[in-house]
Symmetry: C2
Subunit: 340 residues, 2 copies
DNA sequence: CTTGGCACTCAACCATCATGAGTGCTAGTA
DNA sequence: TACTAGCACTCATGATGGTTGAGTGCCAAG
């Protein structure tokens, strides 16, 4: 592909992103800034179409980029602009300076992504598999009901009600918690569960029931964790002419509610530390075949713990979205590192 | 209004609920079962229109009920059918038999409301103002970071990170927690906050900083509580021809995201113990002027703690929705009473 | 009071037509 | 050889106008 073709492709995609309608040869010839006639542009476009970068919705309707075209665009043509001062200030204001607890920071990040991009924003919450168990508490709520509370080193708190067969007194429970903390505290959660399983098989202590339930809670924390994802701003999709009023929108909404496959896709993108794009069919996930996902992993204390980003139409202003997602990921990581 | 007019109004509304289109005199005359000509029906309908129960979208389009019409319908004409055995079984299955923790039960209730009614379901979560403080824990996460955990008698757990100026050791924190529990444990949360404020003004204990933060946390629990509402299934509104593709849908979505006014409306409906309906403009809340809200308060241990229900078009099958919302409220109350 | 009849209204549907944006192709030009 | 002008063709879009059918209001007769 020669220089001129690249320039035209870039110009076409930019126009299509801006306007949302197919771009014709006349307009492209005018706006591309080259002194070139529409006919010449048509020749170039025909070539680009042959090579799979463009497609015509119908015979006389100009061209729109394919996912291959977008891919080439972002890889080879796009110059990512740095985050605007205004956006940056907003990000810092919304994420950086408010860290009362991790959950709220995550919510704030999801919201701000959606607001600034006018698309759906998501945050895959930190996984706790490698988190360290900080503290366990057993509290007697009523007869035969014990509330178990787990705290990890990052301040995540998880709790669960356990029904027991015998009643336990407060003193007994405190003792159990002390034992638990002394034995398993300060170890990674998965180790705790593993050891607990082993230990429970050996001993037949009267506390077994509670410990076993605590173990299940721990397992659940790891398990549930697989699915946890915040998503916000799906309603922004209503504005998009390419989706609006069709079955596709419904499918998409159902898909993000389902979350399962989406989470799988995102876990993929947690490898590496860069912003990553899934354009159209690239995600390999049918309901997303008209959409793009821009994601970036975020790190706490140097370790990648989650991923965030936005989901929107293929036609999205990548040059702004990419730095925004990137910036949000970095700020979120920093905010979480601070807040623990 | 005579017996015949009532019968026709009832029949008209039922047909409109079923079909969603304006009902004309011919069809109404046929389906009402009375041996009456369309012309007669027209006379009756004209009267009903004068009295504000019906309205014509345009000159030749049959009639649809106004919110006054629906109100009369539900108050005077509707015979609520008992919950179908199938729905009841489903409810019990989804809410009754699963009570690992309160949060999940609430989510389950929201989901099942939305699923069974094909509308948006909501659950206003229990308010904790009157809850009794069961247990407080302070855990040192890092230097100068303390995690405070509150547990109420119903098993709600709330946590918050507190930054302190001086570092605290684990022993100190344990001592502080013990003191806190001894002094304030077993009292209603609002009393705790009140007393705490008083006590802090009097004494200048070295623990003040932590206690003050704990107090703030307590206040926040009550505060944030004002806003908490789960809502699910807004996307069901996409199916409705009366809303679809219009600005109204957008407004509605924005309104439920905002929550504030909605929560206010629902708090109103917590007085009393019956199912309550807000039909159209009755809610006094503009974005809901095309919608109805069916709500029912739910009680734990005899005390009303929250309210749940559905939000959908005025044209909803009230005879099924009402018992469903009612039943869900009762089951939820029971489930929460069990699970603590 | 009820009913049949009649004139009228109006949304919805359909076919038709003009418009204009856009294309591919070809032949001529720099 | 690369570019351009011209031309015939395609096709979505939007306007126009007629038809249909459901529905109404009103009136006069039963």
């Amino acid at each position: 592909m020669d220089e001129r073709a690249r320039h035209l492709l870039k110009s076409l995609i930019e126009q299509h992103i801006a306007k949302g309608v197919p771009v014709g040869s006349r307009q492209l010839a005018r706006d591309a800034g080259l002194n070139i006639s529409p006919a010449t542009v048509r020749n170039v476009m025909a070539d680009l179409e042959d090579e799979g970068y463009l497609i015509s919705p119908h015979t006389s309707a100009g061209r729109i980029p394919t996912h291959v075209g977008y891919r080439f665009f972002v890889d080879a043509l796009l110059r990512v602009v740095p985050l605007s001062a205004e956006s940056n200030r907003l990000l810092i204001h919304r994420i950086g300076f408010r860290a009362p607890d991790a959950e709220q920071v995550l919510h704030a990040a999801t919201g701000i992504l959606s607001e600034l991009t006018h698309m759906a924003g998501f945050v895959r919450v930190p996984r706790r598999a490698t988190r360290i168990l900080r503290h366990v508490d057993f509290i007697a709520l009523r007869e035969r009901e014990v509330l178990a509370i787990f705290v990890t080193d990052k301040g995540d708190v998880e709790n669960r009600l356990i029904r027991t067969e015998q009643p336990f007194g407060a003193a007994e429970l405190t003792q159990a918690a002390n034992f638990f903390n002394a034995t398993y505290g300060g170890r990674p959660l998965q180790d705790v569960i593993h050891n607990l399983q082993r230990d429970l098989q050996q001993s037949r202590h009267e506390m077994d029931r509670i410990l076993r339930s605590a173990m299940e809670l721990g397992e659940e924390m790891l398990e549930e964790d697989q699915q946890r994802m915040l998503i916000e701003g799906e309603f922004q999709w209503l504005d998009l002419p390419e989706l609006a009023g069709s079955e596709r929108l419904r499918e998409l909404l159902a898909a993000v509610r389902q979350k399962r496959d989406l989470v799988h896709l995102l876990d993929e993108s947690m490898r590496g530390s860069e912003v990553r794009l899934f354009i159209g069919e690239e995600s390999g996930y049918a309901p997303l075949s008209d959409c793009s996902v821009v994601s970036a992993p975020y790190s706490v204390d140097g370790e990648v713990v989650g991923v965030l980003g936005v989901i929107g139409p293929m036609r999205m202003p990548y040059q702004q979205i990419i730095p925004l997602v990137d910036g949000t990921a970095q700020l979120l990581g920093r905010a979480l590192s601070q807040s623990g």
